[in-house]
């Protein structure tokens, strides 16, 4: 199939909510820093962030700055804007985050033709402003830099 350029979904209309467990992730994203929830005791990463570490049940969390790169674990190719229904090629992508023990982020990939996306490809974070002043981490191929 030939799809052409993959575009991240327009930030306008994308809403998120936070709670005390997840807010530090989004606070960092607003400052264009990619982080993930790491256990303050055993070092295990978990995403989405949650109150307890599933490995050791600790409630201590740290939020290290990650390299901002990762590897495509899997993806889909969609061709309709879910909000408007109009033709719009985008690639939902599951990214294994570098600097973690395989914590994953589900996001969009841009800067590439959709048909060229591959599992195992290296990607780098980019930033997509969304509603209410929040910023969404999205990704682009490392090669595009």
């Amino acid at each position: 199939m030939s799809y052409g350029p993959a575009r991240v979904l327009p930030g306008e209309g994308i809403k998120i909510t936070t709670n005390p467990d997840t807010e530090p992730f989004w606070g960092a994203a607003r400052e264009r820093r990619l982080t993930a929830c790491q256990c303050g005791d055993c070092g295990h990463f978990r995403m989405p962030p949650s109150p307890f570490c599933p490995k050791c049940q600790s409630t201590r969390k740290v939020w290290p700055d990650l390299p901002g790169t990762g590897t495509i674990f899997s993806f889909a190719i969609c061709s309709k804007n879910p909000r408007t229904g109009e033709d719009y090629v985008y690639v939902p992508v599951v990214v294994s985050l570098d600097g973690t023990d395989d914590a994953r982020l589900v996001s969009n990939l841009g800067g590439i033709n959709a048909e060229d996306v591959r599992i195992g490809q290296k990607v780098e974070v980019d930033w997509n402003p969304i509603d209410d002043g929040w910023v969404l981490p999205v990704f682009k191929p490392v090669e595009a830099l």
Binding site: M1, Y3, L9, I14, K15, I16, T17, T18, N19, D21, T22, W26, R46, M47, P48, P54, F73, S74, F75, A76, I77, C78, S79, N81, P82, Y90, P92, V93, V94, D102, A103, R104, L105, V106, S107, N108, A114, I119, I130, L136
Partner: protein, 405 residues
């Protein structure tokens, strides 16, 4: 170890409304359809609705995830005098066969005598299952998923299918074969929504909704209701039809699957799976049987790729070999011999969620019952054991082995 409640309960009544294309059931109401299914199941069992004293739901009693079943309301509507058991399995459609296990638990605990399990759904334009995830209000957890534009269950499953293709070389032709093979079984099903043969061209030109999955890899959007009645074996023998004996049933799963595709954190090889391995192993331990002992398999098919992964998780073939297994014709039902093809076990002889109707797993239970009764349209010759599965979804998923009485 043999299950302590093996062969002690049976499904004795099945009832269903017509199956409607999404939204076409209006001006019927969802409670009207649920009631019709229950009354028909009672009639099929040869009992009065007044004898129902237990209700075992799944999907957290969510009628199509959109409304909620309410036991008191059903009792009032149908005139059920009392209940001694009212319980629901958590999570989604993965709990459907498990709800029969829940009914069995109530019956074996002597809380009830005739237990109904039901699902009804009606997808009016504002209430479509296909977009229910995407249109739900953002919460702190789904804020890590929704913005990606993975808005429906099929979008989520496509990501799993992609990983399976990557790891094992699974071919898109295998997805086509699953849709076509089960479509063949729907052709002479009077109530089936899709009853025309499916050509290769029609499949390949079906729109890619979430590459690698096409519209025809997605289940139907259906309105309708199905109910079944479970009771103890001593009572079952007095019912109208031959009992479909509950030989093994289990629900559950492991944390590696856990929140599943609402999370995407599953490690390999669980990511490219149906999350059914734990339940499958339990069922085979309970019964001492294996996949190869099944005469028919009614496998939850909300998306074609998930049939393939369940075939692996239940051991119809090895992990990673689902594509070859399917492509060798082994899920086909052969009308001439009334049996499997090439040593396989016929899958979804009723057409499944992909072709007959999508009542969130209940049609698979009905077909399992009819197969071991010996009364279904695509009857497997001498059918002794039927496997019924529910899910994949977030846990629990579930499975059931019905045995001919």
């Amino acid at each position: 170890m043999t299950w302590v409640n093996q062969d002690k309960c049976a499904i004795v009544g099945i009832g269903a409304t017509d199956y409607y294309v999404r939204g076409k059931s209006w001006p019927r109401t969802i409670n009207d359809m649920a009631g019709e299914a229950i009354l028909k199941a009672c009639e099929d069992a040869g009992i009065s609705v007044n004898q129902i004293d237990g209700i075992a739901y799944y999907s957290t009693a969510g009628a199509g995830y959109l409304d909620k079943f309410d036991t008191a309301s059903l009792m009032e509507t149908l005139g059920i005098p009392y209940v001694g058991f009212s319980a629901t399995l958590t999570s989604g459609g993965g709990g459907c066969p498990g709800a029969i296990g829940l009914a069995t638990a109530g019956l074996m605990n002597q809380d009830c005598t005739y237990t109904v399990t039901l699902m009804a759904l009606q997808q009016l334009p504002q209430h479509r299952l296909g977009v229910v995830f995407g249109s739900s209000a953002p919460n702190p957890e789904n804020s890590f998923l929704q913005p990606s534009g993975l808005v429906g269950p099929g979008h989520l499953m496509s990501v799993l299918a992609r990983r399976h293709m990557h790891l094992y070389g699974t071919q898109p032709e295998a997805f086509k074969e699953i849709v076509q093979a089960t479509r063949e079984n729907a052709l002479d099903r009077p109530k089936a929504v899709r009853r025309k043969p499916l050509s290769d061209e029609e499949y390949w030109t079906s729109p890619m909704l979430a590459d690698p999955l096409r519209r025809l890899d997605f289940c139907l959007e259906t309105d309708g209701a199905v109910a079944v009645i479970t009771t103890t074996m001593d009572r079952a023998r007095d019912c109208r039809h031959k009992p479909a004996v509950v030989h093994g049933v289990a629900h559950g799963g492991t944390r590696e699957w856990g929140r599943a595709f609402a999370w995407m954190g599953m490690p390999d090889p669980d990511f490219a799976s149906s999350g059914h391995k734990f339940v499958a192993d339990r069922i085979w331990n309970q019964t001492g049987l294996t996949a190869k002992d099944m005469d028919v398999a009614l496998i939850y098919d909300h998306f074609s790729s998930m049939v393939l992964m369940q075939l692996e998780d239940y051991g119809f073939c090895e992990k990673g070999e689902g594509s070859d297994y399917v492509l060798s014709g082994k899920i086909r039902y052969d009308k001439a011999t009334r049996g499997g093809v090439n040593g396989g076990v016929p899958v979804n002889t009723h057409g499944g969620n992909l072709n007959e109707a999508y009542i969130i797993g209940m049609t698979h239970i009905v077909e399992g019952v009819e197969q071991v009764r010996g009364t279904t349209v695509n009857q497997v010759e001498d059918c002794e054991f039927a496997l019924v599965t529910g899910g994949p979804a977030s846990l629990p998923v579930s499975g059931l082995v019905l045995r001919r009485a």
